[in-house]
Symmetry: C2
Subunit: 338 residues, 2 copies
Amino acid sequence: MLDERKLSVLRAIVEDYVTTREPVGSKALAERHSLGVSPATIRNDMALLEDEGYITQPHTSAGRVPTDTGYRLFVDRLATIKPLSAAERRAIGTFLEGAVDLDDIVLRTVRLLAQVTGQVAVVQYPSLTRSQVRHVEIVAMSPRRLMVVVISTTGRVEQRVLDVAVDLDDSTVAELRNRINEAVDGKLLSEMPEAAAAVAEAMPAEVRPAVAAILATMVESLAGEGEERVVLAGTANLALFGTDFPGSIQPVLEALEEHVILLRLLGEATAPSQVSVRIGHELPVEGLSSTSLVSSTYGATGVGHLGVIGPTRMDYPGTIGAVRAVAQYVGRILEESS
Amino acid sequence: MLDERKLSVLRAIVEDYVTTREPVGSKALAERHSLGVSPATIRNDMALLEDEGYITQPHTSAGRVPTDTGYRLFVDRLATIKPLSAAERRAIGTFLEGAVDLDDIVLRTVRLLAQVTGQVAVVQYPSLTRSQVRHVEIVAMSPRRLMVVVISTTGRVEQRVLDVAVDLDDSTVAELRNRINEAVDGKLLSEMPEAAAAVAEAMPAEVRPAVAAILATMVESLAGEGEERVVLAGTANLALFGTDFPGSIQPVLEALEEHVILLRLLGEATAPSQVSVRIGHELPVEGLSSTSLVSSTYGATGVGHLGVIGPTRMDYPGTIGAVRAVAQYVGRILEESS
DNA sequence: CTTGGCACTCAGTGCCAGGGAGTGCCAGCA
DNA sequence: TGCTGGCACTCCCTGGCACTGAGTGCCAAG
């Protein structure tokens, strides 16, 4: 149905439209690309591509513009991902090396990504549920009030204060701390429930219910969804693409403020450790229907997600390359610092 | 120099311009406001107001528009702050009551403020340096690695892990913890340096240098500037005012991403527990030269700042009223929950 | 000091014609 | 069957032009 040449035409249309920002016509296409055929032939191909829904024309006497499905085909079958230049890679490396703690790593990453791609960057903090536990600290602040602090290998530190129904003396707390650390050290946080249950079993009967309650609260509050965080950068870049959005960038900005939604979108990305691209209406969010999301997991265990949001008319090969490279570097940095 | 009527004319110009978004002329002014004089007289007054720099005309045959100094005069001498309606106050109250923890309070506050004013809201987390210390916890994670956790009365919890040069046994740590808590309980974090010094004095000589070092690091890292945080909401509202900004909202968005700058601006506000207004070029930030910042401290000890950023052509009376009201409510909520 | 009158300026609008880019269709050719 | 050149057609965009209306500054009179 679509022979080689028609695909080349589609590729050429996408590439030209991305760079010129203007509907591209048959003549210009024949000139700029060496397709070996005349404009008239290209016109025929374009008519067919339009029938198939890959391109469309804004008005009768204008050139063609790719549709969402056109971009999809381009990304899936036509694009060859641009690897970053050596200089770019070096710049990324040195920029990220300088980070002093986790907050700094995330901040630097998101700014870097925004700057490299010239679009809006989104970085999720390393997810606790996929992190390994490095250390658990339990402190009795008063007889019935405990503070639990969990430190992950990615450097995140989370604490909770919780009240318990029975008095726990210092030695019990100390024992609990030791047992918990022994049980969970190096485990994923998502494996903590079982480990916690085993710990509760081993404790003296009279405190067992209390201990179980503590552990339950702890696991639940630490592994809960509420703990996921994202950071944005480069929203100002949206204003530069103002003309790419029908009407206004207002709905886009609104959607970006809903971090919960962003987290969901990032989480929906398909294959781990591979760059996922979601184009226009493929994103199940009203305000983002004229944007695309290029995202990836990072870290060995897919501990977090990062990505870039921009107009559907974006430089997919370049963006994919950048996202992939940054994700790799961040993963490496996180491992080194753990 | 400026008699009563000229001031009334200025007030009328500001009010009309804010609502209509269009340069206002002498005739329209005479019709819409009962100034008791003819358009010709108003024209004379306007010419004078223009000489004095309070208003300006975009082009020869257009109406007048207030300048930054015009708004300044309006805010200082002409505006009567709109108190919020009873219904609005109730809505604010109930919306904020539902918050479960500090993060939630801040998030709700910033969204509320953005929604009520229809502009960009900025809320600073309660500053640690102005918070009182509720509890300090020191935990030996390993012989030479301590974790210090400080909990403030505003509900903020901050922790640091630090390495020390000498081994500290458990009893020393316990003693240190007790002494520190005794010394700093209820004090402002900014008063901690002296308290810490006293504690160090009282410790056994052999650990004194180590203890002093610990305390210094602790105070410094907790009270450092890096710990201040701000949260934004309503950036999408900027797009609605797109026409108010010369060229693009891009520089504004850029400035808003620099949280350090926002913190500085909030901190520069003059009188505590009073609403501060900074108009256009009064803000020492390039990108914000066509915006105004209406801000206030909140909490009894002025523990944090919050504010609203919008185009210089904003409804100052309404915005000031909203900021004041929200600041009061947040202060109250924080006290209740402490 | 205020007022009405008057001439002047100038942004904004509607209209129209011309240019240009692009398309679809068709007939001819390999 | 598929490619090509030619041709008529569509429609956006631009620039010129006249017109309108809001608004101003100035002046002479009350």
